[in-house]
Structures are given as structure tokens and as C-alpha cells.
């Protein structure tokens, strides 16, 4: 009621529009948060430039590009993972395909995180209340965050287009590609603006965003493999279907994406104008008067902390495993019909393609499990900065016990996510690929390395806890683009998933498994000792 009255009052007095204070908020956001957009832009444009440069050496001649289109470009397994490689007989098309997976994950996350961390996050912590008391309207923080994010995305798109033009690609194709990438990020920035009005916590905003991204990835994959209309549900397809480097390139999917951006942003800004500070459209209800004995224990609290995200990742991994596994039949059919692929792989081409495809899907599931663990390990630091660790440890509870309970709970959820994903893959792809379950298990130590690193960071340098995301981002980068960029062996070996090897194509390497387990346990132990010996809070 209050909100409606207030909104009406604001409407009656245009002298104080809800967007006032925009400049002030913009300055605060840039002062406190300039690093994040700068890192995103530099990392994405730099990674893309390196990819294009490497591809230009490998596929320098039209003949080489033609080979790419006939083999990799017509491989349905690649279509599931990277999307349909339109125009894969041009450098831009090959780069779009090779960079496709990273762009499909990183660009949406960029849009999502950049908006959420400057809006719901400070609103949750109470910072926005102080700002809002200083002549800053309801909409200003959101418009400022959207503007910063859109500018950062535009810089990414421009950077990519300039790289392509520098390597001799036609300017109109380059700019269409850059614009489609920027708009893809814009869709998720708009999503964050809209969802940010419905849920209270910044973590909730990113969780909804990641679920939407997962759905977008799946519907795009289904649409690309089965060649049906499912893909039009996916913002990733809106980007891909502009087909910038193909002969039939078109602008209208870009306009569809832009329309969605505008609808989401406007809806979000309308909603924020009529709600109370700190509130959400979803109200909270009273809860139980007492906690159960288990609920009040360290394990109970750890379960409560890690279960929501953990269950989400488990469900996501299961869906990816089952759906991507189901594509193996389509892939076998497509390979059988493609003489070029059969020529490359020999008589059992379908099995070989499916095996490496299953291996790639498993890698994807391993990344999801690692993301699950990285997110959960960061909650340990969240307990400390949130001020809850102090009263927790002022009870008669062991520090190391508290830390290991949380870490083990988080690791169990991540391992279940990996195993469930692998089991889903084995279920739908098992009749075509052998050894999926063994290969899944081979990733367990690599996933646990993330947990060990999380404990190491939290125990020794808690302020640097979020570096764990950088480690994970590096693993994704090195595994997906390492061979394209011809990274040296030592650089590849820094990625725990790379150390596992190419399972199930190759056999599980016992020495690598042992080495990863030692690293996981060693880092965890050092982290635990560091935590025992350090001040709380620090």
C-alpha cells in the first residue's frame, strides 16, 4: 500500500523523479567497481584476439578453411557443444565456433554479474540505503548499473569486431558479430534488472540467471542437433542465428534480442519505481520457533548453507548429462552420412566421434561440479565477512571442525553433481560409448582440487577467496582453447581437468589421479592449518 501511495506522490511531483541522482550513483559505481568491467572486457577481447591469431596460423589458406568446414564444421557433436558453425569456411566463422562455448557462458555471466553486484548486492548490505538518503532516486542505481554494463558489453563487441577487421574479415560481418555478442550480454543484464526486483538477494538474482542460461544452452543445443524450433527459446540462438560469416547473414534475430533487452530493462525499471527499498515481490513468511538438534549443529547449518546451490547444480548436471547423451544417436547418424568424417576417422568414425563427444560432455559436467564447489567454498568467506563466524566460533565449536564440515558438505554436493551428470550421460549414451562411469569417477580428484584451493585461500588469504573463480575460468580457458592456442605443456598442466587426460577416449591415468588427490588433500590441509593459526575476523 505504502509503495503505491509513494509512487503516486512521486508521479504528482515530477520535480523529484525516481531517476534523480544518476550521475552521483554512476560515479560511486565506477569508483568502487571499475575493476570488474575492465577485467571482463580485457579478458574476453584478449582471449578472442589470441584465438583468432592462433586460428589464422592454423587455417591460413582457403583450402585449410574448407577442410575445417568439411570436418569439424559438419561434426554434429560440435554443433551440440559450440552451436551450428555457420560460415565455417571463413576465419570469422571458425573463430565464432571455436570461441562459441566460452562466449556462450562468459558473455551472459558478464551481463548478469555486472548488474547484480552494483544493485541488489549493495541493497542487501544496506549500502544503498545510505546512498538513497542522499537524493538518489529509486531507479538511479539500476539505470547506472545497466549503463555501465551496456558500455562494457559494447566495448567487448567493438573489440572483437576490430580484431576481425584487423585480420581481414569484412567489416559488416565483423560488426554484426560484435553487435550480436554485445546484445547477448544485454539480454542477461536485462534479466538481472528484471529478476532483481523479484528476489531479495544478489545470490538469488545470479542463481535465477544461471538457471536461465542453462536452459538457454540446452534449448539451443536441442535446436541445433535436431534442427528444430526449440532453439528460438534461447538467447544464445538469437546471437548465433545472425550467421554473420555465412552467405545468408541476417540482422532480424539481433532485433528480436534487442526487443527482449528493452522489455526486460523497462519492466525492471518500472517495478523498482513502485517497490520499497530492500523489499522483493516475493514476501517472507514466519518460520519455526525452534531449531531441531540437527538443524542447530554445524553439519545442519552447513547443509542449509550449501544445499540450495548444490541441489541446483546437481539438477543442472543431470539435465546436461541426459540431454547431451541423447544426442549420440543423432551424431552417429550424421557421421554415417558424412564421407569426409568417415575418411578422417576410419571405419569406426561414429564410435570415435561419440567417444570424444562424451568426453567433452563429461568435461562440461566436471566444470559444473567445480562451479558448484567454488560457489560453496566462497560461502565460508561470506560467513566471516557477514560477521557470523565470530559468534559461531565463540561457541564451544572447533575451528577446523567447522571448516572441514563445511568443505566436506560442499564437496559432497559437487561430487554428487559430477556423478549424477555422468550417470545421466551413461544412461542415454551408454549403448554407444563404453567406460563413461569410470571416466566420470576420474574427474573426482580434479573437482576436489577446487575444494582444496578454496580451503587454502580461506585459511591463508581470506580476502582473496574469490580467486577461486579465476582458477576455474583458467581451467575452462586452457581446456577449450589450449590446443587451438598451442599453449605450452606446463600452462596446460595448471588446469586440473587437463591433468585428468582425455577420458573416456584414453584410459584413466592412475598417476594423474594420485597427483590430483595429493594436491587436493595438501592444499586442504595447509588451508586448515592456516585457518587454525589466523585471527578471526581478518
Amino acid at each position: 500500500m505504502t509503495a503505491t501511495t509513494e509512487a503516486r506522490e512521486t508521479g504528482a511531483r515530477p520535480a523529484e523523479p525516481a531517476g534523480s541522482g544518476f550521475g552521483a550513483v554512476l560515479r560511486v559505481q565506477l569508483r568502487t567497481g571499475w575493476k570488474a568491467p575492465v577485467i571482463w572486457v580485457l579478458a574476453l577481447v584478449g582471449g578472442y584476439a589470441a584465438t583468432v591469431a592462433a586460428l589464422d596460423t592454423t587455417y591460413g589458406t582457403p583450402e585449410q578453411l574448407a577442410t575445417y568446414e568439411q570436418t569439424v564444421g559438419s561434426d554434429p557433436a560440435m554443433a551440440a557443444i559450440n552451436g551450428t558453425p555457420y560460415g565455417a569456411d571463413t576465419l570469422g566463422g571458425v573463430a565464432a565456433n571455436e570461441f562459441g562455448f566460452i562466449a556462450a557462458i562468459a558473455i551472459p555471466l558478464m551481463g548478469l554479474f555486472l548488474v547484480a553486484r552494483q544493485t541488489r548486492a549493495p541493497e542487501e548490505s544496506g549500502l544503498l540505503e545510505l546512498l538513497r538518503s542522499r537524493g538518489v532516486g529509486r531507479r538511479a542505481p539500476w539505470t547506472a548499473a545497466v549503463v555501465v554494463t551496456v558500455v562494457a558489453l559494447a566495448l567487448v563487441g567493438t573489440g572483437m569486431a576490430l580484431v576481425l577487421i584487423a585480420y581481414g574479415e569484412p567489416a559488416d560481418a565483423a560488426w554484426l558479430y560484435g553487435a550480436s555478442i554485445a546484445t547477448l550480454g544485454g539480454v542477461f543484464a536485462g534479466l538481472a534488472t528484471f529478476v532483481g526486483q523479484l528476489v531479495r538477494r544478489a545470490a538469488g538474482v545470479t542463481a535465477v540467471g544461471i538457471i536461465v542460461l542453462g536452459g538457454a544452452y540446452l534449448t539451443r543445443a536441442i535446436g541445433d542437433v535436431r534442427d528444430n524450433a526449440w532453439k528460438w527459446l534461447s538467447p544464445l540462438a538469437w546471437q548465433q542465428e545472425t550467421r554473420p560469416f555465412a552467405d545468408d547473414s541476417r540482422v532480424w534475430p539481433l532485433l528480436l534480442a534487442l526487443a527482449v533487452v528493452i522489455v526486460l530493462v523497462v519492466a525492471g525499471l518500472v517495478l523498482v519505481g513502485s517497490r520499497d527499498l530492500g523489499s522483493a515481490m516475493v514476501a517472507s513468511r514466519p518460520g519455526p520457533r525452534r531449531a531441531s538438534r540437527f538443524g542447530a549443529s554445524t553439519l545442519g547449518l552447513a547443509l542449509r548453507a550449501h544445499a540450495p546451490a548444490g541441489l541446483g547444480w546437481i539438477a543442472g548436471a543431470a539435465v546436461v548429462g541426459v540431454v547431451f547423451g541423447a544426442f549420440t544417436d543423432d551424431i552417429a547418424d550424421a557421421v554415417a552420412a558424412n564421407p569426409a568424417l568417415a575418411g578422417m576417422f576410419g571405419a569406426d568414425a561414429a564410435d570415435q566421434v561419440n567417444e570424444s563427444y562424451a568426453g567433452f560432455t563429461l568435461l562440461l559436467i566436471a566444470f559444473m561440479a567445480m562451479g558448484c564447489l567454488a560457489q560453496s567454498m566462497l560461502r565460508l568467506h561470506g560467513e566471516e565477512t557477514g560477521g557470523r563466524l565470530e559468534p559461531t566460533l565463540a561457541r564451544a565449536s572447533h575451528r577446523v571442525g567447522w571448516m572441514t564440515t563445511h568443505a566436506v558438505t560442499a564437496a559432497v554436493f559437487a561430487c554428487i553433481a559430477l556423478l549424477v551428470g555422468g550417470a545421466g550421460l551413461a544412461w542415454t549414451a551408454g549403448d554407444r560409448v563404453d567406460g563413461v562411469l569410470a571416466a566420470t569417477a576420474a574427474y573426482l580428484p580434479a573437482v576436489l582440487v577446487i575444494g582444496g584451493l578454496g580451503m587454502l585461500l580461506f585459511g591463508l588469504v581470506p580476502g582473496w577467496s574469490s580467486l577461486i573463480w579465476l582458477v576455474l575460468a583458467y581451467a575452462v580457458f586452457a581446456d577449450l582453447l589450449g590446443s587451438t592456442l598451442s599453449l605450452p605443456d606446463w600452462a596446460l598442466a595448471l588446469s586440473p581437468t587437463h591433468v585428468v587426460g582425455d577420458v573416456p577416449v584414453d584410459d584413466v591415468d592412475a598417476a594423474a589421479e594420485l597427483w590430483l588427490s595429493v594436491v587436493a588433500l595438501g592444499t586442504a590441509a595447509v588451508g586448515a592449518i592456516g585457518f587454525r593459526l589466523r585471527d578471526v575476523p581478518r
Binding site: P286, G295, A296, R304, A396
Partner: protein
């Protein structure tokens, strides 16, 4: 009987910053000690070292006769702690948080807990994120007071409480002290310290600048006297009185000065002999005492 808290020459450095610089503090069994000092003087750091959350740089710290850093878990079974800025799990209810906070540590008196929830007028079914600062504070207080703790460590525990709740807080601390609990009460509210504590320790820049009983501290500071005499007042010894102001008032004199409480019986008789038409003798207020301790360079 060993003291509950014994601190001697405690140093805690954060890089180049000396947060605690040779601090001494004692809390005897059953004592209620007011722990005062300006913001950033080192009160919370001292408490964190006592709780074994932070490691001392050097010096002696004993909690129940033992090293709190090495034996934190065992020693915490005998104490309850209320932090100055209470942070709780936003998705839990207040009642659940009370159970979490008391789940390990001293035994809980369930009857007292339920009574305290009533007295502090707390809705235990409400989610913590919907609580105000004062209500979060009440959750931590109920949890601490329902435990059968030998020691209560309270770090500015009443920030955010309304005057009514502040009163309930004082009653509850007094009850727990009467049960024999020792209390370390860090506070800025002087009336609260005056009402609850027999003894105080004042910390400034990481060292104790004054400690003793409240009565003792009172006797150390000067009583102010204001008098109007009917005949000209006698000359007063400048060695015993200070801040002397004399103005003629009709036949007599208007006098105001301050004096050590111990010297009152030598200073007052000659003034009274001059005939007094008005006289106020005001004992030192704690506020004045603390302000002078806080301000002194």
C-alpha cells in the same frame, strides 16, 4: 581462587598498528566489570583475544586459568558472548538462531530462555532478515542469558535497544550476577555501567589508563561547590580548591569552586561561617570523569 580473566602486558599488533599496547586487566570470580573506552581504543580486540578468536602478539592472557588460544573450545563451554554488531543467519528465524547460538557451549536453562523471549518481547518465528538491529541484538542477548555460563562477555550489548528493553537488560544482568556469573561489560552507556558495575577499567589507545571501583574513581575526582554567602566570604586556600570564581553579591559573595571530596571538611566550615543563603554541593558525575579520561592526551 584464580581470576576468571587475567591479562598482563598484552600486545596485539596488526602490521604496524598497535591495537593493544601492554594492556592489563583482571576479572575476579563474581565480579561485574565495566570495560570502557573511546571508539577504536581496543575493547573489541581485547575481547577477541580473550575469546581465542585472535592471537596475541605478546603478553599473558588467561581465561579460567588457561590459554584461550590453545583451549578455546573447552573454555567456551563456560562462557557466553554477545558481539557488538550482531550478525545472524538471515534465512533462519530468531528462535532457530537462539538454538544455533546455544547448541554448543554451556547448558541451556530452557525455562529461563522462554521467559527471556517473553521479557524481551521477541517474536521467535520471524525471519532474521526481517528483524531490526535491536531485535537481532535481543536474539543474541536471549541466547547468552539462557546459558548457564560462568562468564558473560558482552561487547556493547545494548546498542539498538529501546529504553524499555535496556531496563530489561539491566535486570537480567543483575540476576545473572546474583547467580554468581562474572560479567565483562564493554559499554558506552555510563548510566548502564554505573547501575551494573562495581568496578570499571578504562582503555585508551590499547592500554588501561584507569581502573578501580566506581566509588574509588568518584573519590578521585573533584566535587563542585556553589555558594552565596550573606557576609564577605573568607579567602580560600588555592592549594586545595581550584577553578575559584568570586563575584560580589550584595553584602556577601557568590563563590564557585571545585575541591577534592576529602578536603570538603576543611574548606566548607569557613564558608558556612560567613553565613550561607544558597549552597549546592555536586558530587562528580561519571560522565565528567570519563570524558576527562577519554580526552586526556
Amino acid at each position: 581462587m584464580a581470576d576468571v580473566i587475567e591479562i598482563e602486558g598484552l600486545h596485539k599488533h596488526f602490521g604496524k598498528v598497535r591495537a593493544l599496547d601492554g594492556l592489563d586487566l583482571r576479572l575476579a570470580e563474581g565480579q561485574v566489570l565495566g570495560f570502557l573506552g573511546p571508539n577504536g581504543a581496543g575493547k573489541s580486540t581485547t575481547i577477541r583475544v580473550v575469546l581465542g578468536l585472535m592471537r596475541k602478539t605478546s603478553g599473558q592472557v588467561r581465561l579460567f586459568g588457561d590459554d584461550p588460544w590453545a583451549h578455546a573450545v573447552r573454555l567456551h563451554r563456560r562462557l557466553a558472548y554477545v558481539p557488538g554488531d550482531v550478525a545472524l543467519w538471515p534465512q533462519l528465524t530468531g528462535g532457530q538462531c537462539i538454538d544455533v547460538l546455544t547448541s554448543s557451549g554451556p547448558a541451556v536453562n530452557a525455562e529461563r530462555r522462554d521467559a527471556l523471549i517473553e521479557r524481551f518481547d521477541l517474536d521467535p518465528t520471524k525471519r532474521v532478515r526481517d528483524y531490526s538491529k535491536g531485535n537481532r541484538q535481543k536474539v543474541a542477548l536471549v541466547a547468552a542469558f539462557s546459558a548457564e555460563a560462568d562468564l558473560l562477555v558482552l561487547d556493547e550489548p545494548t546498542s539498538g535497544l529501546d529504553p524499555l528493553m535496556e531496563e530489561v537488560f539491566r535486570e537480567t544482568v543483575a540476576e545473572r550476577a546474583a547467580d554468581g556469573a562474572s560479567v565483562l561489560l564493554s559499554s558506552h552507556i555510563l548510566s548502564e555501567v554505573d547501575a551494573l558495575c562495581e568496578d570499571v577499567a578504562i582503555v585508551r589507545k590499547g592500554t588501561i589508563v584507569r581502573s578501580g571501583s566506581v566509588a574509588e574513581l568518584r573519590s578521585l575526582s573533584r566535587t563542585s561547590v556553589h555558594a552565596v554567602t550573606t557576609s564577605p566570604a573568607p579567602t580560600l586556600d588555592h592549594a586545595t580548591v581550584s577553578g575559584l570564581q568570586r563575584t560580589p553579591a550584595g553584602e556577601g559573595t557568590e563563590l564557585s569552586f571545585s575541591v577534592d571530596p576529602g578536603a570538603l571538611d576543611t574548606v566548607l566550615p569557613p564558608v558556612l561561617a560567613a553565613g550561607v543563603s544558597a549552597l549546592t554541593v555536586r558530587p562528580p558525575s561519571l560522565d565528567e570523569l570519563f570524558l576527562s579520561e577519554y580526552e586526556d592526551a
